[in-house]
């Protein structure tokens, strides 16, 4: 009798699991992305998966969604051994996925995107009608309001994400995987998303949330699994753990979640901008009269949701884009257009720029690391002993030094820029721009795509530069980063600065409201 009891309990335990992975391994060439991973996700819970970039989270979920097939291991869905060779089988098993980069057709309507691939019949009309009805129900039930006839490209990022969730629900997904869902959202949009997820959980759906933001894990998940270098290192009940423990599990050593810094000692005003106005090629006003000033030895943080004019502001200051208005450096007016305007002249005047998009503007990915560390400074006399010859050995020697000081891994100056991880690519760009001791450093998204270790290092470097007396303009969509590093915070919305706050007198909620355009 007792035996049957135990057997029965095990039976229920197994059928309580929405997903069970046993011994999943996957290698890409010589890189072992997943090593013998086992995980149990209980039905009707929100299960977080955290880990640094490259820890193998996305690979694991791609295997679960049939994007890749595992080299070894078994997948159980609702207690049943399931083969998932392609996305269609995953969808049929009730698994839906919301990718980090949405898989939507931009110039299709919401309805068309929702039914794509799950149409009821050869003709579209009946499917569209059914989807319209279902969307109405879901909107009522889960706060998933989207205009079904709007084109996706006209929707905000938060609404586009809802379309992805609706797509999964239309396919009757019971298990929803979200890959880094809040990276592109405002704080209030993220809160809305979490309300939706909690609503879905109450309806018995299972949610797997992949993220690197520990605060989200603590807020919404029931259980959390930690991955490190392709391995599953621990699973915890969220209520019984804390961010510090999770961070240590992720990195494998003690980490500082807070940036250590002394109060800033701001000096004289270095950079001043007034009335910057930019109209882009589509006639849209991107900057509507932005004024700011930065003093020596302080970090001015620009917070805001991506696309509210921060990029244009950086470009104007760096000499990449012409604008109305005026910029002064140490009281001297800088040219805003014409022959003397441009990134080269700005650099010579002491304004260094770490671009937001390092792949497009910061690096030439197909070039070696040593070539990349010279860009923008390749006219320097010490690299050009004569007009006819560039001293590549000198550049390489310089690069080796930079790589050592900035802890670039691997320290190989002959490696192509594309061969480094995101964090190390960023260190290469930072080393190039910071080691000139610029008067002003413009830096956009300094830690995008970096792992905890690299973020910690980069933050420390920025603080050090500030303490040496450089004026730093920091643009970041990561509010935590802005709060941790800035000595003053300006919030941008729709091409305007909504207000300035001191970091110790404000909080994420207040800044979030400003970021959403509410004063």
């Amino acid at each position: 009798m007792a035996l049957t009891d135990t057997a029965m309990r095990q039976e229920t335990a197994a059928s309580d699991l929405a997903i069970e992975l046993r011994g999943i391994s996957k290698a890409f060439g010589s890189v072992q992305a997943n090593k013998d991973i086992s995980i149990r996700v209980k039905r009707g819970t929100i299960h977080g998966i955290v880990g640094e970039n490259g820890a193998g989270k996305s690979t694991l979920m791609s295997i679960l969604f049939g994007f890749y097939s595992a080299d070894a291991g078994e997948i159980y869905v609702n207690g049943k051994l399931t083969e998932i060779p392609d996305s269609l089988s995953a969808i049929k098993s009730g698994i839906g996925m919301v990718f980090q980069h949405f898989k939507l057709v931009d110039n299709f309507t919401v309805l068309e995107n929702v039914i794509l691939g799950a149409e009821d019949s050869g003709l579209l009309r009946p499917s569209l009608a059914r989807a319209r009805g279902l969307l109405k129900d879901l909107a009522r039930e889960f706060e998933l309001n989207v205009n079904p006839d709007a084109k996706v490209e006209d929707l905000s990022v938060g609404h586009q994400q809802r379309v992805e969730i609706l797509k999964a629900l239309y396919r009757e997904a019971d298990i929803l995987i979200l890959d880094e869902p809040t990276g592109v959202l405002t704080p209030s949009e993220a809160d809305h998303l979490f309300r939706i997820l909690k609503g879905l959980k109450e309806q018995g759906k299972t949610i797997i949330l992949i993220t690197h933001k520990l605060r989200e894990i603590m807020d919404v998940t029931d259980e959390v699994s930690v991955m490190r270098r392709g391995e599953m290192v621990a699973t915890r009940v969220t209520a019984e753990t804390n961010p510090t423990e999770l961070a240590e599990l992720m990195v494998g050593r003690k980490v500082l979640l807070r940036v250590e810094k002394t109060p800033a000692k701001p000096g004289a005003e270095v950079l001043r901008a007034e009335g910057l106005r930019v109209v882009d090629s589509h006639g849209v006003e991107r900057l509507r009269g932005v004024s700011l000033d930065i003093r020596a030895g302080e970090i001015l943080g620009i917070a805001g949701v991506a696309g509210n004019g921060q990029s244009e502001l950086l470009e104007v200051l760096a000499g990449l884009r012409e604008a109305e208005g005026q910029v002064w450096l140490r009281g001297e007016a800088l040219p805003m257009s014409g022959a003397k305007f441009g990134p080269l002249s700005r650099r010579k005047q002491g304004i260094a720029h770490v671009p937001e998009d390092r792949h497009r503007r910061g690096l030439v990915l197909n070039f070696h690391a040593w070539e990349n560390t010279a860009f923008g400074y390749h006219h320097d006399a010490r690299f050009n002993p004569s007009p006819w010859r560039m001293d590549n050995d000198a550049i390489r020697e310089d690069t080796r030094g930079k790589m050592e000081r900035f802890d670039v891994r691997p320290p190989d100056c002959w490696l192509k820029a594309s061969g480094f991880s995101g964090g190390n690519q960023q260190k290469i760009v930072l080393a190039r721009e910071m080691e000139r001791n610029p008067e002003v450093l413009l830096v956009g998204q300094p830690t995008r795509g970096g792992d905890i270790g690299a973020i910690e290092f980069i933050h420390q470097q920025l603080i050090n530069l500030r303490d040496q007396g450089t004026a730093v303009l920091l643009v970041s969509v990561e509010l935590d980063e802005i709060l941790a590093l800035s000595d003053r915070i300006a919030v941008m919305f729709d091409g305007r600065i909504m207000g300035e706050r001191m970091p110790d007198e404000t909080n994420a909620q207040e800044l979030g409201l400003l970021m959403a355009g509410m004063e």
Binding site: S87, K103, V105, E112
Partner: protein, 321 residues
């Protein structure tokens, strides 16, 4: 200018626009599915040759048309294998097809018929018959209706009607059916289709294959309807004009019809008025015949406003990590 001339010009506009319309829709469907098709010209050419040769040998135009469609589809398959399966450069694959067709048609024609790279002239059942629409004779003398119905609409080869019927069919397929939705999606964002669990490769092959069928019909009409036999390079750049019309139409079927009618009209005018005088100055016939090509250049140079192609066209789909 009398009514009879106008009727004549419009009548010939329809016929001259027919191969352009087939080719234009072929390109449109292929590019909507995300595959550049610069090989329209080559596919038309091989279809024209095949249609003429097989129609002559079999003395049946429809066997010729069927063979033309097959020949064109073989080249489409080559294009598909190169640019979809092996993810090669779609432009280069298309250019290769054009060269291949230009060479192979003449070589085979010379070897087969010994007529200096042409096929014998088609006569009788080997040519496409002109259909008289019902009551065409009865209403011939009715004012307005007579010239329009009997003079312009009636009296074309079957493929002319098929071509214009293909316009609503293409529109319906693209915008009202599941296949169309998926094909448009694969031309805009193949990743969306892939994650929905549908084969990107399969859809693109379907698009290219439909293009092959339509190019086959274009070439077949050119050799058996518009002319009576195949001559070297007889497509004379119509594949590229069709591409220009497709861009002009911004990849929309009804607009494509309008665009090819414009090109057909220019060609018809050039054919009809070979020695025209404007303000007492004689315009050389070459200048008239160059009109469609000049318009092509103008369109491709972007003088007709911004044409945004399907976003994924020309890019082989590779699953990202």
């Amino acid at each position: 200018m009398d009514i009879a001339t106008i009727v004549q010009v419009i009548d010939s506009t329809l016929r001259l626009a027919t191969p352009l319309l087939f080719a234009c829709l072929a390109g449109l469907i292929s590019e909507r599915a995300g595959v550049f098709d610069i090989g329209l010209e080559g596919k038309m050419l091989i279809a024209a040759f095949t249609a003429a040769a097989i129609a002559y040998v079999s003395a049946n135009v429809w066997i010729g048309v069927g063979a033309a469609v097959l020949a064109s589809m073989v080249l489409s398959l080559v294009h598909g294998v190169a640019s979809i399966t092996f993810r090669g450069n779609q432009l280069i694959a298309g250019v290769a097809i054009n060269f291949l067709a230009a060479g192979i048609t003449v070589v085979i024609a010379q070897n087969w018929f010994q007529l200096g790279g042409r096929t014998p002239s088609l006569t009788g059942d080997a040519r496409m018959a002109r259909l008289q629409l019902p009551f065409a004779d009865a209403v011939r003398d009715v004012p307005v209706l007579g010239p329009v119905y009997s003079g312009i609409l009636s009296g074309h080869g079957l493929l002319v009607y098929v071509a214009f019927l293909c316009v609503p069919l293409t529109w319906y397929m693209l915008f009202r059916t599941r296949l169309g939705l998926r094909m448009r999606a694969v031309g805009e964002n193949p990743a969306a289709v892939d994650t929905a669990g549908i084969s990107v490769v399969g859809l693109r092959y379907i698009g290219v294959a439909i293009g092959g069928v339509l190019c086959g019909l274009a070439g077949a009409y050119l050799a058996t309807g518009l002319s009576a036999g195949f001559v070297q390079e007889m497509t004379a750049g119509r594949g590229f004009i069709a591409l220009a019309a497709m861009i002009f139409a911004k990849w929309r079927p009804w607009h494509a019809m309008g665009a090819v009618l414009l090109f057909g009209f220019l060609e018809a005018v050039a054919n009809r008025f070979q020695n025209i005088e404007i303000l007492g100055v004689g315009v050389p016939v070459q200048a008239m015949q160059a009109l469609p090509y000049v318009l092509t250049v103008v369109i491709l140079a972007g003088f007709v406003g911004k044409a945004i192609p399907p976003r994924a066209v020309g890019t082989p789909y590779v699953k990202e990590h």
